[in-house]
Symmetry: C2
Subunit: 134 residues, 2 copies
Amino acid sequence: MIGLIVAGHGEFARGLADTVRLLTGELEHVVCVDFPAGMAGEELEQHLLTAADFMSACNRFVILTDLPGGTPFRIAAGLALRDDRFRVLTGTNVPLLLQLALSRTGDACVDELIASALAEARQAVMVFEVPKPW
Amino acid sequence: MIGLIVAGHGEFARGLADTVRLLTGELEHVVCVDFPAGMAGEELEQHLLTAADFMSACNRFVILTDLPGGTPFRIAAGLALRDDRFRVLTGTNVPLLLQLALSRTGDACVDELIASALAEARQAVMVFEVPKPW
């Protein structure tokens, strides 16, 4: 099974997970890791590893972070460099988390799932066009 | 001035605003509107209008919603159809809110700002590629 770890500055992770929970009901194998002001990078890394340990039914993990270059992204990327159970995404929005949470199955190819979820998430970033009068 | 209203299911709005506040410090003219379970659409619309009234220095508003087709998006789009002070975005991620919050100025063209922020936000939705060994 693929475990999902949502990680971002402040209350990003719990806000996003709360939204998806309202839309789909309680999700299994999704863990939030907040990164509040004052937390050290080493501590955040430890929390990400603890989140993975917590999902004992999972052997692969996707970490969804808030923005490129931020500390959660950099710490997660460092983890992925050393441990190939982890993939790291960034620029996370609700459609990305929703798509990954609902499409993962036991034998799915994690890189294919990611490619498809990223495409869906990018398409969802859009403006509502007010129809022009005739 | 352009006012920003973040609106989504559950605690999406406050989670995102908390993240951006940690990254940039307190932001002016940004209001969060949560849409908890059990709230009616009419009440949400009223909260969006109250948020706009609250930002009395602003005459244009961008509503950043969580996902296409969700109630916050539909209610905001209905508002934009009747009132051309409003623009509505969806698939909101941290880079989208950050970019809009930091680039708006008094005389900016709101549609140009939106186009540029959307492009930036889409680019930020990505996977960290672990470098291949030589």
